[in-house]
Amino acid sequence: MTLTDRVPGLALEKRRARFARRSLASDVLITCLWASGAVAVALYLSSGSVGRTSSAAEIITTVGAICGLVGCNYILVMLVLAARIPLLDRTIGHEQAIAVHRTMGKPALYLLLAHAALLLTGYGMSAGVNPIAEIIPMLSIPDMPLAFIALGLMITVVVTSLVAVRRRFSYEAWHLIHLLSYVAVAFAIPHQLSVGGVLADSTWQRYYWIALYVIAFGTIAVFRFVVPVVSSVRHGITVAAISPVAPGVTSMFLRGRGLSALNAVGGQFFVWRFLTRKTWWHSHPITLSALPTDTVARITVRGLGDGSSRVLNVPVGTRVMIEGPYGLFTSATRIAPKVAFVAAGIGVTPIRAMLEQGEFGPGEATVLLRASQPDEAYLWDEIEQLATRRGAACYSLVGPRASGANSWMSVGDAQRGVTIESILPDLANTDLYLCGPGGWLDSISAAARAAGVPRHQIHSERFDW
């Protein structure tokens, strides 16, 4: 934190500028996303003679071809969104990128299904057969059998990602099936480059399309494979110590080299992979619960469910692979003069790290800690110390959950007439950082919105476990 950050006025200006830049970048990305679909259509339009379509069969095949181009374009965009590109993470955040990825899944598949159905129909019509009968001759065209398989694989991937179906699989099994999407995309390439004239040899359309593939697979190769491997080798991280914090909650200390080069900021997380025989294929996104030094990092994990228990049972000395740092739940997204950190349960970890980062002046920050029971006060002692040192006010809300709109606070608080405005007087000028379980998060966000806090001043991190 520089001197300017300590001068209230200047810091605010800097934050506003940063926010404006990021929101512009984010809008540019959104525009590119939609425009890429338009370019896919334009690939078809620019190859000529679309305006002269007249017969029904022609129109159907034209639309079918366009659906294929647009659908595949968006599948490639989805790959890029899942590639964990630092630029995307800094602009819209990894969580937001994955959210967009998820919403695009079904529409993209629908476009591909329409592509297949319309082309079978259109070509069938000009040959005088029904679409089903058209499948056989279509299969005899080179590269088409692979394309059919690709579509089948993609259907499998999307169907298994539907919430109802996904629940039946373990995460790892589901993820493995999901990786088939790469295979599907690859299998579709030959027919795209050989069938139909739009992407013909030596056309600019073909070069553009190949470039899209290079970007999609390239970013995945680089950011999901090369960078983590290089980073892990460079920093040589191992498990140094495991120490309990509270019943069911444990801190893990990790040792490494040159960790400051990672430039991890308070509130960010890494994806950890513990290299033991049983755990190497599991990856865990876990937030740092303290700022790392050059040689030591700390995460704090609540032992719920298979994943976290496995992490906690890993022997000392285990080598660890990391990806990151990721996350926009940091002071980088600050925009208002004041800041409030609100944590429920294990959601305390990024808050603790951000407090240590301390990008606020005395009197500017308020910390609010929520726990249903006293023994769920994980790391509160550290937080109180940091708050005192930084000149931040620190409150706690302990007790069983209140009902209705006040469910984010305890019964006792509700009865005493506590409201979000009473805790945070200058709410309109406050950045709210909220971290905790989903239900609690929704409740407090709603309260903040109702009190007039602008949406871009509410930052939340969902810890659903």
């Binding site: 512009l24 679309v50 017969s55 095949t61 000009s126 040959a127 001759p137």
Partner: protein, 197 residues
Amino acid sequence: MRARAVIGSVVASAAVLVAGWQAGATVDAATVASGHAPGSRVGAEPRGTATASPASPTGVASPGAGVALPSPGSSAPGGGGTTGRPAGGAAGAPAPVAPPAPAGAVDGVYTGDLVDTVYGTVQVRVAISGGRITDVVPLKLTDKGSESARYSREAAPILRSEVLSNQSASFTSMSGATYTSGGYLSSVQSALDQAGF
């Protein structure tokens, strides 16, 4: 989504679509500008043989003209049987569509229909002279570079006038059907030999 993002997306997408449409129109205009009747895209079934269009070579030109019009791959018009890559053997590229020269066809150069096949868009320019098709040139063979390379070796009609007009240089020998020793005396070769050095 923020308003700016919405507006940006709409404007950018519209601009891209318009540019694409224009580019497509330019491609068509180029075909029109070279003086030929513009074709329309016909969605032929994706077998590389333009079965729906009048590809039958027997319907071409005046009867008895005997012009051998190349029609690779479609010896049986209307064939649903030519599946797979029609490049096997002599077939080469997708069948060029040669519209029949109607009786009393006016001499000139015509552009055939754009036939949309999975191997690309095929369009053929046909020259008609004296009621016969005298030249068939593929205009658009946009796919499969190797196919076009093979296609380009097919023999195509050429006018005698085109050929005879370039006789400015002299030549040293003459190739013709084998003449007998007696026949030699009345062959051009003998004249060449006498004039030879």
